[in-house]
């Protein structure tokens, strides 16, 4: 600024500054969206797996998440360990609970009208919420954050270490489930049962066992989600509803039963959620998300990524 040259006009300077700031915000929202999407992915993968194989829409999926979050809270408090360590207790317990629900609730109804099944899982959801309300009241329980709410400042984007772990876990989970379903004998048996139950029985597959394992794996996904989010979000009997509503959107958008579809749809919903929440506000955000959902339902009812599946083979 030597000589007599004037400094750039003030409004121009603030424009540049504004652009940089806007870029930062876009980047931050993108990163936040991905991390939110990762959480939806973990929850949705379990939901879509159960639907794809057992043909049951588990309306109590969120309540398994809620129960698992309570388990994380109590295990952390009781053993005084890092929340992530509670995975070794939470996973087996949730897996077992899932198997039990499949065996005593879903299986006896499996050959009856599919609407009955909706009542069954909705009923289970309400029962679980009320049981927890009875036991613990409507209060909020906060699992210690154990350093997971530490902010990582990566230049333009800022996020919490706990969020980054969710993203890593989502990628590992989807990859792991994919490998399990395609490379292992049990995984193939699960897919076979989903594609043709009677034929699976004719191969010597114990389909009732396969259903139990599948339901167990499905709800174990929210067991994992619970361990990841309990240190970041408060736990309460209604917390499941909050997280799972969008997962139903994700599962339908991804194409019912499609795991890769759920992953992609979860990321889209996560990013839309983050941007709409930031630029349009929390109230308008849901309007945008569900507006997109309705558009998908109208124009691609088979989901964004679900092919036109030929279900005629399935008995």
């Amino acid at each position: 600024m030597a000589g007599g040259s004037k400094p750039p006009p003030l409004n121009q300077r603030s424009n540049w500054h504004g652009v940089l700031l806007a870029m930062d915000l876009i980047f931050t929202n993108l990163v936040n969206g991905l991390m939110l999407g990762a959480l939806y992915a973990i929850v949705s993968v379990g939901l879509t797996l159960v639907f794809g194989i057992i043909k049951v829409i588990n309306f109590a999926h969120g309540e398994f998440l809620m129960v698992a979050m309570f388990l994380v809270f109590f295990a952390t408090a009781y053993f005084g360990v890092h929340p992530y360590v509670t995975l070794v207790v939470v996973l087996p317990l949730i897996f077992g609970l899932g198997m039990l629900v499949q065996r005593v609730l879903i299986e006896p109804l499996q050959d009856s009208d599919e609407h009955i099944m909706i009542f069954a899982t909705v009923g289970l959801s309400i029962a679980m919420i009320n049981l927890m309300l009875m036991l613990f009241g409507p209060d909020i329980y906060s699992t210690p954050s154990s350093g997971l709410r530490t902010v990582v400042d990566m230049g333009p984007a800022m996020f919490l270490t706990g969020q980054l772990n969710i993203l890593i876990a989502a990628i590992a989970l989807v990859g792991g489930i994919h490998l399990f379903l395609t490379r292992t004998q049990l995984g193939r048996a699960i897919r076979a049962t989903g594609q043709n139950r009677a034929a699976a029985q004719l191969m010597g597959i114990n389909v009732s066992w396969v259903y139990m394992v599948t339901f167990g794996i499905g709800v174990s996904c929210v067991g994992l989600a619970a361990v990841l989010i309990a240190p970041l979000y408060p736990t309460s009997p209604e917390v499941g509803q909050y997280f799972v509503l969008l997962s139903f959107v994700v599962v339908v958008m991804g194409g019912l039963g499609s795991i890769s579809g759920a992953l992609l749809a979860a990321m889209i919903i996560g990013i839309v959620d983050a941007f709409a929440g930031f630029y349009l506000g929390a109230n308008v955000k849901d309007l945008v998300v569900f507006g997109i959902f309705l558009l998908v339902l109208i124009f691609r009812p088979q989901g964004l990524f679900g092919g036109a599946r030929n279900m005629s083979h399935v008995s």
Binding site: A189, A192, Q195, L202, M203, V207, R309, H313
Partner: protein, 234 residues
């Protein structure tokens, strides 16, 4: 080898089979003949335990298998190639064959069985990595039979394996069934092609409205007036 004693079975509260009795001896090809809806598929499904028995009993190799669940029936050595192929549509041909040898009895023989079926069905061998859904009807039937063989069965149940196939393919299917029987597997087959089936069968049963009407050596049945009129259209 297989013996049905007064088997009664059906769907829900509807009884379809009213006291079926039949027998299959080791090494035989036995056929069940009957009109649409007579209960042929239901009989095979009952043997495979896909349907629960309401009354009566089933014996296999001298043991009572009446209450054995479907997945255990396969382990015992009975495999059904079901009506309308029933492949796993979103799996590859190879994966379908792998599912065939799922039982712990069959798994150790996977390699040798795979060689065997691929030699028998060269067209299947060419399509191992193809999705099952993308195959033609005839190819799907070959895969369904191959998949059934992968389970190392001693008794194979066929439910209308030639349904909806072109005449050349139909005779290929019958050749395959003959080969399977010649290799020592006992066969119980249900078919619309009554004439062709009676030609390869040792004995036959006629089922009408869920009851066995007539039975005897295949030659005799072919000469029977009622059968000639009702099923052979002669």
């Amino acid at each position: 080898m297989l013996k049905l004693n007064n088997v009664t079975a059906g769907y829900g509260s509807t009884t379809i089979l009213h006291g079926i009795s039949l027998e299959v001896n080791e090494g035989e090809i036995v056929t069940i003949v009957g009109g649409n809806g007579a209960g042929k598929s239901t009989t095979l499904r009952t043997i495979s335990s896909l349907i629960k028995i309401a009354d009566g009993s089933i014996e296999f190799e001298g043991e009572d298998i009446t209450k054995i669940p479907a997945h255990k029936i396969v382990e015992r050595g009975i495999t059904m190639v079901p009506e309308a192929r029933q492949l796993f549509p979103e799996m590859t041909v190879l994966e379908n064959l792998q599912m065939g040898s799922f039982t712990k009895v069959a798994r150790p023989h996977y390699k040798e069985k795979l060689d065997e079926v691929l030699t028998l069905f060269p067209r299947v061998a060419e399509r191992l990595s193809q999705g099952a859904q993308s195959l033609s009807g005839g190819e799907q039937q070959m895969v369904a039979i191959a998949r059934g063989m992968m389970a190392c069965p001693r008794l194979m149940l066929f439910d209308e394996p030639s349904l909806g196939l072109a005449p050349i393919v139909v005779s290929q299917v019958f050749d395959v069934v003959k080969k399977i029987a010649a290799s020592g597997t006992t066969v119980l087959i249900v078919e619309q092609n009554v004439f062709q089936t009676l030609q390869i069968a040792d004995r036959g049963y006629v089922i009408e409205n869920g009851e066995i009407g007539m039975s005897g050596p295949a030659q005799e049945l072919m000469g029977n007036d009622h059968i000639r009129k009702a099923y052979l259209g002669i």
